[in-house]
C-alpha cells in the first residue's frame, strides 16, 4: 500500500521529479506575485489610519509567515531524518535553511521600513520583530553548525538535532518575547472567523502569501537538485547525467 513511499528513497526519481516541478512552481510564483503586487500596490485603497505605508504588509506578512513555515518544514524533515535515516529528508532540511533565513531577513527589513512611518523609528524592540530576529539567529546557528562539522554525516545529524530542539524552543521564545513586550498588534489573519482586514486588501495579501509559498517550493526544488548531485556525485546515474549534459 505504501510502496510509493520508497520512490522518495530513490535519488534519480526525486531528481527527475524536482527538475519537472521547479519550473512549474516558478511559473506559479511569478504569476501570483505579479498579480498580487498589482492588486496590492495599484488597485487596493490606502488605509484609513496608516495611509499608503501599510502596503509594506504585502511583503512583510508573507515573508514573516514563510519564515515560520520553512522552519516547520526544516524541523519536520530533520525529525524524519533522525528517526528513519532518510537521506532525502536531510537534503530538504539542508536546502530549506538558507531560504528560510532569507525570508526571515526580508521580514525583518520590511518590518523596519514599516516601523519608520508607524513608530517613528526603524527599529523598536517589539515582540514580533524580536522573535523574528531570534529566529534569524537560530537559522544562522543551524547553518553555522552544519558548515563547521567536516564529516557530512555527522554534520547532518547534529544539525537535525538542533533543528528539532529549536522547534520545541521557538514557541517558548515567541511566547516569552510576547510577554516581554506586548506592544505589537495582534496577528491580523489568525482570526479566521472574521478577518479584520477589508476584502480589497485581503485579496492581494492572500495572493502574495500563495506566491511566496510557491517561490519557496521553487527554490527548494532547485536546491534539492543541487543537494542530490553533491551527495550522489560518485554514483553511475549522475555520471550518466553529466555525460549527456543534462544536469
Amino acid at each position: 500500500m505504501f510502496k510509493w513511499i520508497h520512490l522518495f528513497g530513490s535519488s534519480p526519481f526525486v531528481y527527475r521529479a524536482a527538475s519537472w516541478l521547479a519550473p512549474v512552481f516558478g511559473f506559479g510564483a511569478a504569476v501570483c506575485i505579479l498579480v498580487g503586487l498589482y492588486l496590492g500596490l495599484v488597485v487596493a485603497p490606502a488605509d484609513y489610519e496608516q495611509g499608503d505605508s501599510y502596503r509594506i504588509i504585502f511583503v512583510h506578512v508573507p515573508s514573516a509567515w514563510m519564515s515560520m513555515f520553512v522552519y516547520m518544514v526544516m524541523a519536520t524533515s530533520s525529525a524524519v531524518f533522525l528517526i528513519w535515516r532518510m537521506k532525502l529528508a536531510d537534503i530538504v532540511a539542508w536546502a530549506s535553511a538558507p531560504i528560510g533565513a532569507s525570508f526571515t531577513l526580508i521580514a525583518l527589513v520590511s518590518g523596519a521600513f514599516w516601523g519608520k512611518p508607524m513608530w517613528g523609528t526603524y527599529w523598536i524592540w517589539d515582540a514580533r520583530l524580536t522573535s523574528e530576529l531570534l529566529l534569524l539567529f537560530i537559522y544562522l546557528g543551524y547553518m553555522a553548525l552544519r558548515s563547521s562539522i567536516e564529516q557530512p554525516q555527522t554534520a547532518a545529524r547534529a544539525a537535525a538535532i538542533l533543528a528539532v530542539v529549536g522547534v520545541v524552543n521557538i514557541p517558548i521564545i515567541h511566547f516569552s518575547v510576547e510577554w516581554w513586550n506586548t506592544l505589537h498588534q495582534p496577528a491580523t489573519i489568525s482570526k479566521l472567523d472574521k478577518p479584520s482586514m477589508h476584502i480589497s486588501m485581503l485579496r492581494p495579501l492572500l495572493l502574495m502569501v500563495a506566491g511566496f509559498q510557491l517561490l519557496y517550493f521553487h527554490q527548494l526544488m532547485v536546491r534539492v537538485k543541487t543537494g542530490i548531485l553533491q551527495r550522489e556525485g560518485r554514483t553511475a546515474w549522475v555520471a550518466e547525467l553529466v555525460a549527456n549534459n543534462r544536469v
Binding site: 488605509d47 513608530w119 506586548t182 495582534p186 491580523t188 479584520s196 477589508h198
Partner: protein, 158 residues
C-alpha cells in the same frame, strides 16, 4: 518485568512528571497575571514608589494634550477610564500618537505625582481598511479600537 524495562519505564515516568510540573506552573503563571505595565489606577492607589522606574499604560485623554511653548515638550493625561495621571514628555512623539489612542510610556513619578516619561510608544490596532470604510464605521459608532469602545481592560491586558 526485567530490570532494564523497569529502568526505562522509570525514566519515561520521570519525564512525564517533569512535563506535567511544567504545565502546572505554566497555568499558575497565567493565573497570577504578570503585569508588564502599571495602570493609572495602580499609581493613584500608591502601588509605585516615587522615583522608581516603570512603565505606564493607558489611553490619552481627549482634549488633554498640551504642546509646550519651547521645543518638544508635551503634556497630557493618561486614563484607564477609572483614574487619570498627568504625563510629561520631551521628545518626538510617534505618528500614531493622538488623543484617544492607547499608549505605553516609560519613566518615573516625580514628587508632585507627575509622570516624567523618557519614552512614549503608541499601540496601533489590528484593523486595516480604506478611509471611507473607517468613516462609515465611525459614523455608525462601530469602529473597533477607538475611544468609543476602548475599554480599560483592553489597555491593561493588550
Amino acid at each position: 518485568m526485567t530490570p532494564k524495562r523497569k529502568q526505562r519505564l522509570l525514566l519515561v515516568a520521570a519525564m512525564l512528571v517533569g512535563v506535567s510540573v511544567a504545565v502546572i506552573f505554566l497555568l499558575k503563571a497565567f493565573n497570577s497575571n504578570i503585569m508588564l505595565f502599571q495602570s493609572p489606577s495602580d499609581i493613584i492607589a500608591g502601588k509605585v514608589k516615587e522615583g522608581s522606574r516603570f512603565r505606564i499604560g493607558g489611553m490619552v485623554v481627549e482634549g488633554s494634550v498640551e504642546r509646550g511653548d519651547t521645543g518638544l515638550t508635551t503634556q497630557f493625561q493618561l486614563t484607564d477610564t477609572a483614574n487619570k495621571v498627568p504625563v510629561i514628555y520631551e521628545g518626538i512623539l510617534p505618528d500614531l500618537f493622538s488623543e484617544g489612542q492607547g499608549i505605553v510610556a516609560m519613566g518615573s513619578l516625580d514628587s508632585s505625582g507627575l509622570f516624567v516619561a523618557t519614552e512614549v510608544l503608541a499601540k496601533h490596532d489590528e484593523n486595516y481598511m480604506p478611509p471611507e470604510v473607517a468613516d462609515a464605521l465611525k459614523k455608525a459608532g462601530k469602529m473597533p479600537g477607538t475611544a468609543a469602545n476602548y475599554g480599560g481592560s483592553t489597555v491593561v491586558n493588550p
